[in-house]
Symmetry: C2
Subunit: 705 residues, 2 copies
């Protein structure tokens, strides 16, 4: 039983390590007065946005809390469910908030450090990224541990527990615990969706708006202080790419652990089945902490050295996990469960492979992105066609890898003879994939910090070599971000599959004699598949349209300022930065409502109209099409971005050439692809499952079929 | 039994009507010497292309014929299968060929007639389109009837038939007939895929290449005779939009009839189950012929009048079918089968609704396309984002309509108590949807004729009002083409579902005791869903990349000619048209191989690796994601095209403005979307099913799972 203590220990270690890193970041010098002022505006804008966002989201949470409370009073849910929901949302938001705080504190410091050396800049930016990484995993595992121990203690009292006929006391206990934990996951996913969608709309609208007028119409460089949208753009990096990503990966992380734990009863593993994924996560945290110590470079390192420095950390952590997971499972569960070890390895390996493939398709060191850069010679249309087909093509291997991971982890865990054991193995492979999250997120989250540092260097008129250094860090960040997205999407697919299994298990709790017909020839399943398949498309359409709409209002505003503010172009007067921040804030708030409602309402509506089988079909359809669409959008976006950077590096005529202009169009389209719609789809597919699970009792009672 | 005679009667009527219309077209005046010369070059180029394409495809058919013959000798298939396969391919190709012949004969004649009046132009163009429409349905039903009667006669002899234990003689007979007919369908689908992909690559590469240099770089109008790619562009309209579409819809048409017939045994309907869809199709033909007589306009009709003239024909045909189908089913099958009547109506209504939604999203009379045109004010990036999100958004309602059609036709046909009867109803609703094909295809296929006529008018320096009239016809053709694509895609989804059911039925023929586990929680089904889901994306990626690649080589060639041929820009010397045609021809041939192989190899490979359940999953996954992707691509492409035309009509600064340039980028991206990748996906999802069915015997014997 002492295995269960690993999780709280791991979480505390992660949080302590985060505090240590944060202190290191804050000790660094903030730079000149002007840098402090700019950094301060970004900080202020980001805080203002998040405050507003959390206020808006609070209403949503209040409404859902009331609904869940009513359902729990009516006996559809256990009493802790509404509270678990709230805490999930709170901690997911908190992860993003802390990440944003440290990122905005680190941006100026990174710029200042980079004026010393590339390595110094990397150290500050990477530390800031690592704070976020360890806050996410630390808080995630902390909350899971809290609910686990608290509910275990509570339900140890037979008076608190309803034991169904034919059910053991232990299983009833686990079921009550895991179903509350799933609602906690639903809270985290809801918050993540708001953060990703709202933040994503903010950041990309500001970015697109700033670039469309600044770079293309007026012809001033990126991050030029004369551009009225430049502060909004930098705020966006923090609220979207940092706070949004933090909430997103918090959700992925706890989702994978919870969904696996929820299969423990069905797989016949008892409490150990809940504890193992938590313990795996704890091992991953310790391995990640150790891994960070290997991320360092010699002075004067090339970009390639930098990448291998970052990668070394991830590889060492993965290797440590691969070694330690074996005794964990062998001694923790027994020799007959070693198949589960291979499921973990399978997930770990699949994550790394998907990351490498993502890198192949999106890094300008390889053929696809180079070829894409070449299409810019014939104008924006061929850039678009090239990027879209690159994105589509890049989905094939990840699908095959996930497919192989599913089959291997299913059969190696014993799914051939014991169905639910196989599903448990699939869940565990998602946990394995995300076990290195502490360090992969660190290598990912430092990107926006470096990006911001570059902006500050530009606006503070620092010497050009500083900008060059932050650009090197940023461009590297693009590659690591793409890899990170690959992880997030791959694990989302596996987690979603585990959640579908949990959904079915949950239905059996409500109605043990329910006869499932999940065959794809059952028309309700089939229609469910279609409806689920279309949801990610609808979601992507809504979010992209929002970005377009908000970007257009920013364009109008920026044009107005250039027209009306005298001396702006000459650099004699300051633009009204705050107005652009304000427009983005208000619009992002408004635009995030519909997509979020969609995720909550669709599963309930489908449940009522098509019944349980239809919901299962919908979840499978959404997982399949969502996974593919998310990979496509993320990779197309990443490749466009890097193709543009490749041209800016001098290829095909370099900056200012027609080819560059065409590539900028690609990058602009890629922005909402890779930073708004694509990553939100991950969250969507899990949120759909969690909502289905939480409202399963309602659906089974009132559905048409 | 006399019901079975309806099909041959209908097919002969259609063919006779086509001959009558063709004579009417050919009687029209060909116009001036110059027009004849231009029309002649287009004709020559198109014939040269098709000759080459058929030669290439012949190799593919020869190889597959050999494989099928070997399999049939080895006892995996009945002896007629290889021959049925060949005839399917032959007649599908023939439909396209005849369509192309009449279209190239009609283009100059339409231009000449349009110099008299709009109505005269419409009459010639519409008659040419109708020839194609009735050739497609006539040949389709002819072949089906031929194989049906021939095989019925052959298998009436007990020596020719193997009757399995527990099977009635009649069922054994029907099974042998329908399995040969399915292979006939596979031949048609293979040919259609080649025609759509090859023709689609040709036409869009030529179009994109001509526009990129001509319109954007050199600044000469569309169809300017100085553009070296202008003849290739016009040839492309004929080999892609006409011959490709003919083969495509031939495939859809026979596919829906055959796949429904193949479910007759499982549904326990005997021979009547095979005959009813054939008879329905025959009724549709007669109704379509009558409908064409209502397509006429008064002189001086507006574009709106023209559209309602065309639409009147379709509506009247639909109404006739709705009336006559009732007695057909009531007296042909009996009162207990009236549910099937409503399935037909359901399909008919779904087709019309999908058409209307397609029109809403793609016509510049409605908000979405107008809004899309507005995004061009902020440059090509926002046009791209707007079009992609419009396309994604437009998938939602068609998915819901197909979903409702599936559920209603399933349950109303008695699926609630008799599963296979419900599936039969789904198949019959696809037949209902396509029953008006004769006339809908006529309203669709006249578009490219008008487009070509416009090109000829431009090149022959005819007075501007001629071009205005052909433009009016062409723009209308865009709307009807979009509607036609909606039909083709909608029916593809329903047909594909019927084919999945046929696949399962076929497996039971080979191994009656096979235990299916088609549950979406079965990992092989799940992985199949993923693999199937990614296939349309891979397919779209390959075809789009091909268009991009070939277009780039055309751009290089056109640029070279403008550079090297002295006096070309001044109109003093002629460009080398033939070279562009030749480049397109050779490249399209090369590029169509890989996508076609994919469609044939994927189901066999998945079958061998994942087994029967995996194949079923793959088919469902491909149907869902393919349907959504096809709708998205077709509608985004249509909307971009019409947004551009809307701007050319004077909005947002009109022709030559920056907004127009941005819209041209959208249109250029939309070209391969709507005319290459999108429509090919329809064929892909059915071809996957048919290949699975034909190779079912092999898969079940040698698969891993």
């Amino acid at each position: 039983m002492e295995l269960s203590l690993l999780a709280p220990i791991g979480s505390v270690l992660a949080l302590l390590f985060a505090v240590y890193l944060a202190r290191r970041v804050l000790k660094a010098d903030c730079g000149s007065e002007r840098m402090r002022k700019i950094s301060g505006s970004v900080q202020k804008g980001a805080s203002a946005y998040l405050r507003r966002q959390y206020t808006g989201v609070a209403i949503f949470f209040a409404v859902l809390f009331a609904i869940l409370l009513t359902m729990s009073i009516a006996g559809f849910l256990t009493p802790f469910v509404p509270f678990a929901f709230i805490t999930g949302g709170f901690f997911s938001g908190l992860s993003g908030f802390i990440g944003m705080k440290i990122a905005t504190a680190a941006n100026g410091r990174t710029a200042h450090a980079a004026s010393g050396s590339l390595n110094a800049g990397l150290r500050v930016a990477f530390s800031a990224g690592a704070v976020m990484g360890f806050v996410v995993v630390g808080l995630g595992l902390f909350d899971i541990s809290f609910w686990f121990f608290f509910l275990k203690f509570w339900y140890a009292n037979p008076d608190h527990l309803v034991v169904a006929a034919g059910q053991t006391f232990e299983n009833a206990q686990i079921q009550s615990i895991t179903s509350a934990m799933l609602t906690f996951g639903m809270g985290a996913s809801s918050m993540a969706l708001f953060a990703r969608v709202g933040g994503g709309i903010f950041t990309k609208a500001a970015d697109v708006g700033a670039d469309l007028v600044g770079k293309i119409e007026v012809g001033i460089p990126e991050d030029d202080p004369r551009n009225p949208a430049v502060i909004a753009d930098n705020v966006g990096d923090n609220v979207g790419d940092v706070a949004g990503m933090g909430a997103d990966l918090y959700e992925s992380y706890v989702g994978s652990i919870i969904s696996t734990g929820a299969l423990a009863v069905a797989a016949g593993m008892g409490f150990r089945g809940v504890i193992i994924p938590m313990a795996m996560a704890a091992i991953g945290i310790i391995a990640s902490i150790l891994g960070t110590f290997f991320v360092r470079t010699k002075e004067g390192a090339s970009q390639k050295n930098l990448l291998s420095a970052l990668r070394r950390g991830v590889w060492i952590s993965s290797a440590l996990i691969a070694v330690v997971a074996y005794p964990l499972i062998y001694f923790g569960l027994g020799a007959e469960y070693t198949g589960l070890y291979f499921a973990v390895i399978c997930g770990l390996a699949a994550g790394i492979l998907i990351g490498l493939i993502t890198e192949y398709f999106t890094s300008d060191s390889y053929r696809p992105t180079k070829k894409l850069a070449g299409t810019s010679e014939t104008g924006p249309a061929t850039v678009m066609i090239g990027g879209l087909s690159l994105g589509m093509l890049s989905t094939v291997l990840p699908v095959l890898i996930v497919g192989i991971a599913v089959l291997v982890s299913y059969y190696i865990s014993g799914g051939g003879t014991q169905f639910n054991m196989g599903l448990y193995g699939i869940g565990l492979s998602a946990v394995g994939m995300l076990s290195t999250l502490g360090i992969t997120l660190a290598t990912d989250a430092y990107g926006p910090v470096a990006d911001n540092a570059g902006g500050i260097a530009e606006m503070a008129h620092m010497p050009p070599e500083v900008r060059e250094r932050t650009d090197a860090l940023d461009s590297l960040g693009n590659t690591t971000a793409a890899t990170g997205k690959g992880f997030a999407i791959g694990s989302a697919a596996l987690t979603a599959l585990a959640l579908i299994a949990s959904y079915i298990a949950q239905i059996k709790v409500y109605q043990p004699d329910f006869v499932f017909d999940l065959s794809i020839t059952n028309p309700t399943v089939l229609v469910g598949l279609f409806v689920g398949g279309v949801l990610p498309f609808l979601f992507a359409a809504l979010t992209m349209e929002s970005v377009g709409k908000v970007a257009q209002s920013i364009v109008v505003e920026v044009r107005r300022q250039f027209r009306e503010i005298k001396g702006l172009m000459a650099g004699e007067s300051d633009p009204d930065y705050a107005r652009c921040v304000d427009i983005c804030t208000r619009s992002a708030q408004r635009e995030m409502i519909l997509p979020a409602l969609l995720a909550v309402i669709a599963p309930i509506l489908v449940g009522l109209l098509l019944g349980v089988n239809g919901v299962a079909g919908m979840l499978a359809g959404a997982t399949v099409s969502g996974f593919i669409l998310a990979v496509m959008m993320a990779n197309a976006g990443g490749a466009w971005d890097n193709a543009k950077k490749y041209i800016e590096g001098g290829a095909h005529g370099g900056k200012g050439s027609d080819a560059h202009k065409a590539a900028v169009v690609g990058d602009t389209v890629g922005d909402p692809f890779k930073d708004t719609s694509g990553p939100s789809i991950n969250i969507l597919i899990k949120l759909l499952s969690m909502v289905s699970i939480v409202f399963a009792g309602l659906v089974i009672r009132f559905s048409l079929f």
